[in-house]
């Protein structure tokens, strides 16, 4: 009797597991939005990213393969250890199938590693470090809308061409800052421009005056900021106070989000060159999407938030097409399917998970040129993906060789 029951049990579980392989684990798709809800990147990503994911799920119809979609959210506070714990818990205990947003480079790297280990898709919209699509790539990792490489390769050549041939870089002392500083200095070297000096400031910092003073004293033609969020906002404000631009140096924010410029204000921010992967006002499709986002969230989307929308939607489509939520299968499908959404233009995905799409160089408007609260940028140049992003074959990612 017992032997029969045991045999039946084993047979049932064998059938069950093989059934699961073709369907959805746990009979639902679980999307985990792991972001910064309370600290310096909360306005860049944060609640807006959650809203973007919700909008994507709603636009997709709320169900995939006839099963419900569940959204998990958590605040990683920009700490890699906290993010790692949450990611593990979500994957092991809550059946998370995909992790999105992942702002802050140290968090992005840590969580991508865990996703690779456990075969769960990680789509990074928020973190910038290009390392995500280089040696540390995984079979299930994606880097969606921008990275330090493209930021450096779009902004730097334009500034150098305008006469900025000596640079001083102010860097946030952590993974992202180092990455951006490294990419920028590589571009400078290729262009024959001079890197006069660099200084690394603690992350985060409220008072950058001391470091700006060093930049001013260096005599470099360009003072570049390799930091983000609140650090950039403080740097731009304090640079204006110390008369860096008035003194003849050019100020370049290698990474500035729409929310940062909105906070800095056009008075102080006018003329800043900004590289972005998405701008709400860039064309009709973007405007339509952004209007709906604004109605839901009350602010225009930053490129990170728009990216969370785009990546979540593409993920859901790929799950539908693949017929399963198994990480590696869906990841392969994601790289196969074309990306069609209001956020990315001319987009393809490299074997290393890097989305290659058009990037835009924009300039912050002067107060007189702006007609509404969020009318902050005017377009300068569109750079096609092949020029902006690193060729996957040269990234060092094992999947792209």
């Amino acid at each position: 009797m017992l032997k029969k029951a045991l045999l039946a049990g084993v047979a049932m579980s064998a059938i069950a597991t093989s059934a699961m392989a073709a369907g959805l684990s746990g009979d639902k798709v679980v999307v985990g939005v792991l972001t910064d809800l309370s600290s310096i990147y909360a306005d860049v990503a944060g609640k807006g990213s959650i809203a973007a994911a919700e909008l994507a799920v709603a636009d997709y119809g709320g169900k995939v393969l006839g099963k419900p979609i569940e959204i998990l959210t958590a605040d990683h506070q920009n700490k890699a250890d906290i993010a790692s714990n949450i990611a593990r818990e979500w994957i092991d205990a809550k059946g998370a199938d995909v992790l999105v947003d992942l702002v802050t480079s140290s968090v992005g790297l840590a969580v991508q590693g865990i996703g690779g280990e456990k075969g769960v898709v990680t789509i990074n919209s928020g973190a910038a470090t290009v390392r995500l699509s280089q040696k540390e790539c995984t079979a299930t990792s994606f880097h969606w809308i921008y990275d330090t490489y493209s930021l450096a390769h779009v902004t730097t050549p334009t500034v150098v061409a305008e006469g900025g041939d000596s640079w001083f870089i102010l860097t946030a002392d952590y993974a992202f800052g180092h990455s951006l500083e490294g990419d920028a200095s590589n571009v400078l070297k290729d262009l024959g421009a001079k890197l006069v000096g660099t200084v690394r400031h603690p992350f985060p910092s409220t008072d950058l005056s001391s470091f700006l003073l060093q930049a001013q004293a260096s005599g470099a033609k360009v003072v570049a900021l390799a930091n983000a969020g609140q650090d950039t906002i403080n740097s731009v404000k304090q640079a204006s106070e110390f008369g860096i631009v008035a003194g003849g140096q050019k100020l370049v924010a290698l990474l500035a989000f729409l929310s940062d410029i909105h906070s800095i204000g056009l008075e102080l921010g006018q003329g800043l060159l900004v590289t972005t992967g998405f701008y709400w006002d860039m064309d009709d499709e973007a405007r339509a999407f952004s209007k709906r986002f604004f109605e839901k969230f009350g602010k225009m989307p930053t490129m990170v938030q728009a990216s969370v929308y785009s990546s979540t939607l593409h993920y859901l489509r790929s799950v539908e097409a693949a017929g399963t939520d198994d990480g590696k299968t869906v990841a392969a499908k994601m790289k196969e399917l074309p990306i069609k959404d209001p956020v990315l233009r001319n987009a393809t995905i490299g074997a290393n998970g890097r989305v290659i799409h058009d990037m835009y160089l924009m300039q912050v408007k002067a107060p007189s040129e702006s007609t509404s609260e969020w009318d902050l940028y005017k377009p300068v140049k569109t750079v096609p993906g092949a020029q902006a992003f690193q060729d996957p074959k040269q990234s060092g990612c094992a999947l792209a060789q």
């Binding site: 600290s39 929310s259 008075e267």
Partner: protein
């Protein structure tokens, strides 16, 4: 000699001056903290949040009521002071009979509530507050460009610190305050209203934080996190100066601002932690702080 250090003297003086400016904020905030701890024996964790409230009130006054910086300098400390008095009267005064720690927990909780509230309403990117037009621009001192506003910050903080120290150490009201905290019953038996004195002291202490907030608004962006970033360093400053010593708090504030400025030149990555390293050393060698007395 300067060539040996590897940095030209002009750059060094510039950084020292910047350090002095940061030190002004440390001094003002640690003064308030030291007054509250020295007089009330309360570890006021809400100090950073109240500094933030001061900055936000200044921003609010400008945005909604069109009242500029000079109004804010007067009104914000009063508003924050009143808020402090309300907190003290309704909540803090019940905890005096208990262990220090309850006061710490309460004020910590208040800080979290205030910060959470502002974060919820305004986000974290911060609001901009323009430098008052009277102080726009700056002057080239030769070794650096000094914005007028920052020079004003140093001046005002020195004046306020001196005035507060004088009021507490040299005036009659100050002597009543000091006596009231040493021996409340005896002082009360003389007919002096001790609870009112204590409430006022807390109000004045946090008003100083509110003033620091107004002064900070044009320089640092006005955001919900500005207090929490600063308060930990300020606590370290107070500990270094000596928990009960007002003079110690002020002097340490300026001194540590300058030391931090120097660190930013020679080893910038460590500039966030140098104050804590000094605190560890001071605690090991002189647990009461540089100017404190053993309690």
């Amino acid at each position: 000699m300067f060539e040996l250090i590897g940095i030209p003297p002009q750059a060094l003086f510039g950084q020292l001056l910047l350090g002095l400016i940061n030190g002004s904020f440390y001094a003002l905030l640690s003064l308030g903290l030291a007054v509250i701890f020295g007089m009330l024996n309360v570890i006021n964790f809400a100090h950073g949040a109240l500094y933030m409230v001061g900055a936000f009130v200044a921003w609010f006054l400008l945005q909604q009521l069109g009242l500029g910086y000079w109004w804010a300098l007067v009104l914000c400390p009063i508003v924050v002071g009143l808020l402090g008095i309300v907190i003290e009267k309704t909540m803090l005064s019940r905890l005096y009979k208990l262990d220090h720690l309850y006061g710490l927990l309460l004020t910590f909780g208040i800080a979290l509530i205030l910060e959470g509230g502002f974060k919820h309403v305004y986000g974290v990117s911060g609001q901009s507050y323009a430098v008052p037009s009277a102080f726009a621009g700056g002057t080239n001192l030769g070794f650096m460009f000094l914005p007028f506003y920052r020079g004003w910050v140093v001046l005002l903080s020195i004046v306020v610190c001196l005035a507060t120290w004088y009021a507490i150490e040299k005036t009659r009201l100050g002597s009543y305050l000091r006596a009231a905290t040493e021996n409340p019953r005896l002082v009360q038996s003389f007919g002096i209203n001790v609870p009112v004195m204590i409430t006022l002291t807390y109000g004045v202490g946090v008003a100083l934080a509110g003033l620091a907030g107004v002064m900070a608004a044009p320089i640092y962006s006005v955001n919900a996190l500005m207090g929490s970033n600063l308060i930990i360093v300020v606590f370290a400053v107070v500990v270094i100066g000596g928990m009960g010593s007002i003079f110690g708090a002020v002097v340490s504030g300026y001194m540590l601002g300058i030391l931090e400025g120097l660190t930013k030149v020679f080893f910038p990555e460590a500039s966030n932690i140098v104050v804590f390293l000094i605190m560890v050393v001071v605690l090991l060698l002189r647990p009461a702080g540089l100017f404190g007395r053993e309690r």
